[in-house]
Chain length 418, copies 2
C-alpha cells in the first residue's frame, strides 16, 4: 500500500514545532507492511490543504491528514477534504454530545465554534479520540482511504495505534517484523557488519534506527502469496538468528523496554542496588536510573562531587592521590568508587571524573572520562575512554556507555548462571 | 519569497530519523522575511526527487533540497535536479581536490564513488561545507533559486547560516525580528494574553515557540517600501515594549542564551553557589546546571537523597518530622534544604520531595512536588505544586520551574539594585 502523510499547520512551516507525528506514523505503517512514499506539510489554508489532497489522490492509496481538527476557524482539514472530493459535511449529534461531555470534564468553555468538530464528510467512519475533544475519522473514497487525525501527539499516537489494529487493510499475505536493541556499538559499525555478512536477502530487509548510544535493528519481511509464507518466514528467522549471533555481545533486548528500564528491572530482580559518585557526568548517570518507574527500589542515594574538597570529605579520596595523579585520573576514579562503596554498601558503585569541556580546564582532552565500576566493592571495570560531541553529549554518551556495560555484564552473568 | 523545503531520504519516510533540518531552516527563513509554504519529504529515488522538483517549480520561488549529496548510488539529488531542469552535470576539479583533502583529514578511504560529490549541475555556485566532504550548491534557474545541502544536521545547520548571510536575496525593504524568552508561563496562557491585548497589528505578527517549561515570543514585522520603514519600525518597537511590560514577571532574556546558561551566568557574576537535595526530581535539577559550561564555578556538590535513611543521615531530617507529616511534605522539604545549607553553605540550597509516579507509592497524587528554596539559609520560596505529564516530564517541569523561580528572583533583585 502506497501511503502518504500530510501534516497540516502553519506552526510546522515556520519551524515553531518539530513534526514528530510523521515519524511515529511512518514507523507503524512500515512495520505493518505499508510503503510510506510521501510526507508533505502545508499551512492552515484552505487551498493548500485542498491542493495537497488532490496531489495525494494521484499517487497514494492511503492518505493521512494530521492536524486541523480543532474548533477554531484555522482548523479546516475536514472542510478542505470534503471540498476537494465534492462531498457534503454532516453534523453528528452523537459526537456533539461526546464533545460537550469531554469539554465539561476538562472544565473548558464550549462555544458554537466547537460544532465544527462534530461535522464530518458524508460517509465518514468516526474514530474515537480518548484523550481530547477532536474525534478523527476515516473516509473510504474511490478505492482510497483518507484518515483524519488530530495534531497533538498525545491524542494522535494512541489513535494511530487503534487505526493500525482496527482500520488498516491488511496487506496480502503475511508480514514479519523483529526488533533487536543494541548498546555500545555505533550505527555505522553495526550496518557495515551486517552488510558485509550479507544478512539481507531478496525478501528480508534490515533497517537501523539510531538513538544516542543505542541502535535498534529492525528485520522486516513480507510474503505476498500464501504459498511463499513458510519459506519467507524461515528466511526472516534465519536473518534474525544470524544477527543475534553476530551482535551477541551488544544485544540487550528485543521488546519495547529501553536500556534504562531493562537495567532497573535486572537490578530489582536480583535485589541489587546502585549508587553514583559523579564528577564529569554531573548527574547524567543518576538521571538515567531515576527516570525509570521503580528506581527507588535500586537507588537510595547518589552524589555529584564536583570539587576536590567534596571528593575528599565525602568519599575519602586521598589528597595525595589527587596531588600525584591529578583529579582527572584512573586512580582518583578508583578511590571515589571505593569511598562510595564504604559509604553506601550499594551492590554497584560507579564513579566518574574527566573533562566535559567545552574548553579544557585541565591538561586532559575534552571528552576524556575516567571511570571505575565496582560490584560488591570489587572493581569489575575501570579505565579511560574518550567521547566526542558537545558537553551534554559527552555527559550523556559516557553515562549510557557505563550503564550499558553494567547491563551487558549482568546479562552475561545471567547467561553464565543458566 | 515563497519557499519550499524538500527533504530527501528513505530513512525519513520509514520514520528512522526525525527531520530537524526542516524546522531549523524554516525558522531562519521566517526570520529573514521569507514565507515557507511547503515541506515535502521523498525517498532516495530518482523519479520521486524529480517529481518533487517539478511540483516545487510550479509553486515556489526558493527551493531547498536537503540530503542526498553523499558518495553512494543512493545519493542522487544533484543528478535528479539536473535531469528535471535539462542540465548537464559538470565535474569540478577544485572541489575534487577539496573532497580528497577532507577525506584524508578524517582518515577515510576515498573511492571513485566520491567523484559524484564533485559533480554539479552546470552553472551552479558551490557552497562550502566546513564540517564534511559533501559541498552544497546554489543554482539560479529561470528566476528560481535551488539550494542543495547535505543532510547531517551538523553540516547542514552552519551552511544554512552561511546561506542566510550570503546567498539569499534580501526581501525588499526591511525586516524586524525580536525574540523574548519567558519562563513559568504556558504557551496558551501567553498567547491568550497577547491576543486579548491586541498586540498584533496590520504589520506586526507575533508567533510563539514552546519548549517544555519555556516559551519564546517572536515579534516579526516587514516594511516592503522604503517610505514605510520608519512607521513600521515604530509599530514593531511598540509591540515589543508592550509585550515586555505585559510579561515583565516572566521574561528572562532576549538573546540566544537559554535559561540554564542565563542562571549560571547570573550566579557566577554574583559569586553565588547552588546545591540540591533531590528526592522527587532525581537529579533533574543538578543536570540543568551541570549541562552548562562553567557549572563547576557555581556548584561544588549535590545530592540525590531517595531513602528516608539518607535524608536523615546526610541532611539531618528529623525522623519525627517524617513520622508526623510523611516524607512527602512541606516540612520535610524545609528540613532538607536547611540540612543542605548546614552541610554545604551554598548561597542557594534547593530541596524537593514528592510523587513522580507513574503509580503513586504514597498518599499523594502523582505529580505532587513539595519544594523549599533557601538563599543564605533563609527560605525564600517553598510549598507544593502539582505538575502534569509522565514521570520524566514531571521531574523536568518541576525542576525547570524551580530554577526559573530562582532566576526571576535574582533578576528582580538586580532590578531592585539598579
Amino acid at each position: 500500500m502506497i501511503s502518504e502523510v500530510i501534516t497540516i499547520g502553519t506552526e510546522i512551516l515556520i519551524g515553531s514545532i518539530t513534526n514528530t507525528n510523521g515519524p511515529y506514523l511512518s514507523r507503524k505503517l512500515t512495520d505493518f507492511g505499508y510503503e510510506v512514499r510521501y510526507h508533505a506539510s502545508v499551512r492552515d489554508k484552505y487551498e493548500d490543504i485542498r491542493d495537497a489532497v488532490e496531489t495525494a489522490m494521484t499517487r497514494s492509496d492511503v492518505i493521512f491528514l494530521c492536524g486541523g481538527l480543532g474548533p477554531t476557524q484555522d482548523d479546516m482539514t475536514k472542510q478542505a477534504l470534503a471540498h476537494a472530493l465534492g462531498l457534503k459535511l454532516v453534523f453528528d449529534e452523537e459526537q456533539w454530545d461526546y464533545i460537550v461531555n469531554v469539554a465539561m470534564s476538562f472544565s473548558r468553555h464550549i462555544t458554537d465554534n466547537n460544532k465544527r468538530q462534530a461535522e464530518f464528510p458524508e460517509g465518514a467512519i468516526i474514530i474515537e479520540n480518548k484523550k481530547g475533544s477532536a474525534p478523527g475519522c476515516l473516509l473510504n473514497y474511490e478505492g482510497k482511504q483518507f484518515f483524519m487525525l488530530p495534531g497533538p501527539p498525545r491524542e494522535f499516537e494512541p489513535m494511530v495505534d487503534a487505526i493500525v489494529d482496527r482500520y488498516l487493510k491488511k496487506v496480502n499475505g503475511e508480514n514479519f517484523v523483529t526488533s533487536l536493541r543494541l548498546v555500545n556499538i555505533g550505527e555505522s559499525q553495526c550496518e557495515s557488519i551486517f552488510r558485509r555478512e550479507g544478512i539481507e536477502t531478496e525478501h528480508v530487509e534490515v533497517n537501523t534506527f539510531a538513538k544516542t548510544g543505542e541502535v535498534e535493528i529492525k528485520v522486516l519481511a513480507h510474503a505476498e502469496r500464501e504459498e511463499d509464507i513458510p519459506a519467507i518466514r524461515e528466511e526472516h528467522a534465519v536473518a534474525v538468528r544470524r544477527l543475534r549471533t553476530l551482535f551477541h555481545d551488544h544485544i540487550y533486548g528485543d521488546g519495547d523496554k529501553d536500556m534504562f528500564e531493562t537495567l532497573v528491572e535486572v537490578l530489582r530482580h536480583e535485589n541489587m542496588t546502585i549508587s553514583f559518585a559523579e564528577s564529569v557526568t554531573g548527574g547524567a548517570l543518576v538521571r538515567m536510573i531515576t527516570s525509570v518507574a521503580g528506581a527507588s527500589d535500586v537507588l537510595k542515594e547518589s552524589y555529584i562531587t564536583y570539587s576536590n574538597e567534596v571528593k575528599e570529605k565525602l568519599l575519602q579520596v586521598d589528597p595525595d592521590t589527587i596531588e600525584a595523579y591529578s583529579v582527572v585520573s584512573k586512580e582518583v576514579a578508583e578511590e571515589m568508587s571505593r569511598g562510595l562503596y564504604d559509604r553506601t554498601q550499594s551492590t554497584y558503585t560507579v564513579a566518574t571524573t574527566g573533562e566535559a569541556g567545552p574548553v579544557a580546564s585541565t591538561d586532559h582532552e575534552v571528552g576524556t572520562v575516567y571511570y571505575s565500576i565496582r560490584k560488591n566493592g570489587e572493581e569489575i571495570l575501570g579505565g579511560r575512554r574518550l567521547f566526542k560531541g558537545d558537553r551534554t553529549t559527552i555527559q550523556y554518551r559516557s553515562s549510557k556507555y557505563l550503564l550499558a556495560s553494567i547491563l551487558l555484564h549482568e546479562l552475561g552473568e545471567a547467561y553464565g548462571r543458566k
